[in-house]
């Protein structure tokens, strides 16, 4: 890496300041500090830690399902248990892993990257975290509480999208569905609160000189993501209020026996559900926009196009929801419209992919663990997008919808793109958050083991869908020819589990024994790398002023600053 200018001196230490080591505190004091904190960094870390715990739990649920599905007519778990497993796995992964971990990173990074000291509303930030956390605990309490149909304790088993009228009292007696509804309702409130904070912080607290056109792309993407949250999560909140009214106040929103419409629930759910998956992927794009340039040693190619594409994706994502409903009988007009809208969204998405390619092109690529995960992301996101295009073709969806082809597609996005980019983000920002480097050697082992497992599972998962295997079935007939594929898929899960455990070990070990990171281990260019690692509570002793998109590049290259070209 270029070193003709030393990394900027710690601008948070005005000359002459004496520092001293604080005395060790009681555990109770430390806990109190974390429970009452309003510091965006601590809250960000709590979101991330919370999400990692649920990642392991939901991953374990997936392992149980894969064991059950390895053989036809298997009896490893009962039908009821399996149905709860896929419901809890999906609900947990979307609402209690995906949302918290991505908002955790946003919480941590956005103020630092815009030169602010905290979020706009620190107490709202804390409230949002705790109410989301409570939602997760409520969902899992259903295993113990719930007075379900099959005895004491039953987790929800209506699928993560809980179609009506299966969720009506008559088809889902007991309280398991209510735990689902309430847990997500609370988590939704938390998401809206955090999104509000991110938007207010981004618009109102940028440091001097940081016009919108000079913000890091990560901040732009979190701005778009948060805006999507307002218009996407709210419809789900509304639908869940309606569901609760149906179940307990005798209303008829989705009560098909009284003239209500099952399709209306689908519309409301997917008006949330489709933008939701963009809410999950846009932060992954945000990480890619920061990490790929640094390890290519080149500025991101096409910053204005990237902004426009991201905003475009946000807008178009609101118009494609009924591609989840191609088989519901909406009619050829609607099916045609939603096919077109879904295909159109591939254009700005492709623009982003090509811009990343152009960033790599002509660069000097360093294959750190972080970058390896980012490169995996690029290939895998390409494939995921292409299988998405196949599904956007409504007649293909008539065959492949609700089959394992769809499951393969969305796991390709969620695991192959989002989780890979999350791993990349961990290797990149863990040094900043903890002050120590993660082990690169363990990181590369993690990458290769996880990569093998990912491809074993999710490449081959497309095949059963093509051979007619629907999703959400606790078992299958032996005469369908699906067994060999299910065995291969299940074998990959073992590798992914191993890779994930290796990653957790890496984090724990490195936290205590990793090499000291210093403020800027990657020779990067955005403001978070100008603070010590980890940053002090106040982030910046003096609020910086910036003159370009890469303020630290300007400092390190005073002869050739970015400000000359913007």
């Amino acid at each position: 890496m270029a070193t003709h200018t030393p990394a900027p001196a710690d601008i948070n230490q005005p000359a002459g300041l004496v520092t001293y080591a604080a005395p060790r505190r009681l555990l109770l004091d430390v806990l109190h500090d974390w429970v009452t904190t309003v510091d965006h960094k601590k809250l960000g870390l709590m979101y991330i830690g919370y999400a990692l715990i649920f990642l392991v739990i939901a991953g374990f649920q997936a392992l149980l399902m894969r064991v059950q599905l390895s053989l036809p007519n298997n009896t490893f778990v009962s039908p009821q248990t399996f149905n709860s497993l896929f419901t809890m796995h999906g609900t947990t992964m979307v609402f209690f892993v995906g949302m918290p971990i991505l908002f955790g990173f946003g919480n941590y990074l956005v103020p630092l990257m815009i030169g602010a000291r905290d979020m706009a509303f620190p107490r709202l930030n804390a409230f949002s975290f705790w109410i989301s956390a409570f939602g997760g605990l409520l969902l899992y309490f259903s295993y113990f509480g719930a007075s379900g149909l099959y005895g004491a304790g039953s987790a929800p088993d209506v699928g993560w999208f809980a179609y009506a009228p299966l969720t009506a009292r008559v088809f889902s007696p007991g309280h398991s569905t209510d735990y689902w509804t309430l847990a997500i309702l609370l988590s939704g409130i938390g998401s809206i609160g955090t999104a509000l904070n991110i938007v207010a912080t981004t618009l109102c607290m940028r440091c001097p000189g940081m016009k919108l056109s000079r913000m890091p792309l990560l901040v732009w993407l979190y701005l778009v993501t948060s805006s999507l949250v307002f218009v996407a999560v709210s419809p789900l909140t509304a639908a869940q209020i309606m569901l609760l009214l149906d179940r307990y106040a005798g209303s008829h929103f989705f009560d098909t026996q009284a003239g209500g419409s099952a399709v209306l629930w689908m519309h409301f759910f997917w008006i949330f559900g489709h933008p939701e998956v963009y809410i999950l992927i846009l932060p992954a794009f945000a990480f890619a926009n920061e990490i790929i340039p640094v390890f290519s040693r080149k500025a991101i190619f096409g910053y204005p196009a990237m902004v426009a594409a991201s905003v475009g994706i946000g807008f178009i994502s609101l118009s494609v929801w009924a591609h989840h409903m191609f088989t519901v009988g909406l009619g050829p007009g609607a099916n045609t419209f939603f096919t077109l809208a879904t295909m159109v969204i591939s254009v700005p998405t492709g623009i982003k992919l090509f811009n990343w390619l152009a960033t790599l092109w002509g660069g000097k690529i360093h294959f750190t663990a972080s970058m390896m995960f980012a490169i995996g992301f690029l290939f895998q996101f390409l494939i995921a997008g292409l299988s998405g295009i196949m599904l956007s073709v409504a007649p293909m969806d008539w065959q492949l919808g609700n089959s394992y082809f769809v499951v393969a597609h969305f796991h390709y996005v969620l695991v192959g793109a989002i989780l890979f980019m999350l791993f990349s983000a961990f290797y990149y920002w863990f040094p900043k958050m903890s002050g120590r480097m993660l082990s690169e050697r363990l990181g590369k082992w993690h990458f290769w083991i996880f990569l093998i497992g990912f491809h074993l599972t999710f490449d081959f998962m497309h095949v059963p869908g093509l051979l007619g295997m629907p999703r959400r079935i606790y078992t299958y007939e032996a005469d369908r020819g699906w067994m060999i594929w299910n065995l291969i898929i299940s074998s990959g899960a073992v590798f992914q589990a191993a890779g994930t455990l290796l990653f957790v070990y890496n984090m724990v070990w490195s936290y205590f024994k990793g090499p000291i990171a210093g403020p800027d281990p990657w020779d990067a260019w955005t403001l978070e790398w100008s603070t010590p690692s980890p940053p002090p509570a106040y982030n910046f002793a003096v609020i910086p002023t910036v003159e370009s998109r890469r303020p630290l590049w300007d400092l390190k290259h005073p002869d050739d600053p970015d400000s000359r070209y913007e």
């Binding site: 900027p8 618009l203 000189g209 307002f230 929103f253 003239g259 209500g260 419409s261």
Partner: protein
């Protein structure tokens, strides 16, 4: 050395107010929730197989609507008064706002009483009942929350805690109140005008 820390702030640097942006975000989110309830109302119009229809039981709530809409004006006057440091006038206009909002809620309560007792329309009766009570009820809940906040503001104005330097915060609250009124315009149009 880090020039970043030393550049004097000669560039003018003005950013929007956090409160206004935060309230705008909340308004967008709440609008999305209301939109879904309004869509449900419109979707189910005319689909009832039994029970009272809108035309049979709904009367135009002109008076309460006028009260609510004029309360937008009065809250704006309260904000202006506070800006000019006229605490008495601010308290007066806040009190009128709360009164007008209270009249609206009272009118809604009377209307619901009539619908339930005389016309036999409840949430459970039919699709119209379900969508009417949930939509109007959601709005009324927002009015109630607004009234609570305005009453708090009134108390702070009366006891001297709220002064001219808090104008921004009162303005943010008034944005919420304007939003509640705007929603009523839409609900009124959809339920009482177009739907009947």
């Amino acid at each position: 050395m880090s020039q970043a820390a030393v550049i004097p702030q000669t560039i003018p640097w003005v950013l929007p107010s956090r409160g206004v942006v935060g309230m705008a975000c909340l308004i967008i989110a709440e609008s999305a929730i209301f939109t879904i309830f309004i869509v449900a109302y419109i979707y189910y119009l005319g689909k009832d197989t039994s029970g009272p229809t809108p035309r049979q039981v709904l009367d135009l709530p002109i008076f309460t609507t006028l009260c609510l809409l004029s309360s937008s004006l009065t809250v704006h006057l309260a904000v202006s008064a506070l800006h000019r440091a006229n605490r008495t006038l601010c308290s007066l206009w806040l009190a009128v706002t709360v009164l007008l909002g209270g009249i609206f809620l009272g009118g809604t309560a009377r209307e619901w009483h009539k619908l339930i007792v005389r016309d036999g329309l409840t949430l459970q009766t039919n699709l119209f009942g379900t969508t009417f009570y949930s939509l109007v009820g959601l709005h009324a809940t927002h009015v109630l929350v607004g009234l609570v906040m305005l009453s708090l503001a009134l108390i702070f104005s009366l006891n001297g805690s709220m002064t001219a330097k808090h104008t921004g915060r009162l303005e943010v609250l008034s944005l919420y109140w304007h939003f509640v009124d705007a929603v009523w315009v839409v609900v009124f149009t959809v339920v009482y005008v177009l739907g009947r």
